[in-house]
Symmetry: C2
Subunit: 220 residues, 2 copies
Amino acid sequence: MGKPVLYSYWRSSCSWRVRIALQLKKIDFEYRAVHLLNNGGEQFKEDYVALNPMKELPTLCIDGHTLTQSIAIIEYLEDAHAESGARLLPDDAGAKAEVRALTHMISSDIQPVQNLRVLKRFMGEFDTPEVKDAKKMEWGKWAIETGFDGLEKALERTAGVFCFGDSVTMADLALIPQVYNAERFGVNMASYPTISRVAKALEVLPEFKAAHPSAMPDAQ
Amino acid sequence: MGKPVLYSYWRSSCSWRVRIALQLKKIDFEYRAVHLLNNGGEQFKEDYVALNPMKELPTLCIDGHTLTQSIAIIEYLEDAHAESGARLLPDDAGAKAEVRALTHMISSDIQPVQNLRVLKRFMGEFDTPEVKDAKKMEWGKWAIETGFDGLEKALERTAGVFCFGDSVTMADLALIPQVYNAERFGVNMASYPTISRVAKALEVLPEFKAAHPSAMPDAQ
């Protein structure tokens, strides 16, 4: 069926999660850049919307499927490529539920509230570019700090070297892009010692380095 | 280990998803109401935050675990109670990925952007109660319509009687509370014929009736 194709944007958090998963699963793929800002947003172009009706990144074409939604894609890689590379979820149902909960705290509670679409809508309430920009930073910081306050407490219970014990799991794939966004929005990471410690342990891993925005062909 | 305990609020979308899952899985449970508005929000009380560090509903105590995040909880019920009641995910990995993607379109892209916490933050930008209320309605309608535009297109491909073919899946558990919210925010459902048709097929099922907000002990 040919090489898997990932539609991605270098700085898209959700694309980044899937890039890490593909690295950890040792799945080779072709990278196709979709620019979220140029030409009014390439995710709105008809041929891309045919693949991804939500007009979002990422989309992964693999094994004859066209898959959307980053966490659903990662779950697919875990289901269909269980024996390839690392496992991203523990076997035990209770442990699996904890990893999924940590993941969704980020992928449902934090990231969607500070994504580009929502920021643009929020900025639409204000007049001047200066105020728009200040309000955007305020909103993003608020969204991430509200979420990190809870996530930090959750990780105090579950983290070892990584988010859940000492093996990399799906939760770590969600954490790293969120910490990058936190830094962009000026979140004081000193308030989140566990999140910071886990992020430091993750960012030196070769699979995480290979998936970093700065390593993408469309990085600016 | 005693009867499972669900911490819920009658009108909470995320609690509602889990209530439907428990009904479909035929798992008897004790209902504990957490009022999201009274006393400044009971989800912020210390003893509840000890269970749920994100200060959100639902929390399910089951099989000795304290589980949070509605979709992670539903996945747990599917993993650990596979033989009880209905299956909520198909067996095939590709089909499972499609059901998860439909689910996350709602649970990650739509609901989090129009939930109480975000609406309150947005309303904080405006002065009078009248403007706050009008802006809240505008925002919620925008968030749901943007998401439903994509979801409708996705469902055109996947839906049979229900969201994915002719069996109830996890995606249907997310859909029903979202349609209820759409109606609260004045979304014109005539623009979404597939979503409307599936919702109509679901709402008459006994398990969905039993989980409806109006059937909850804390309904107002």
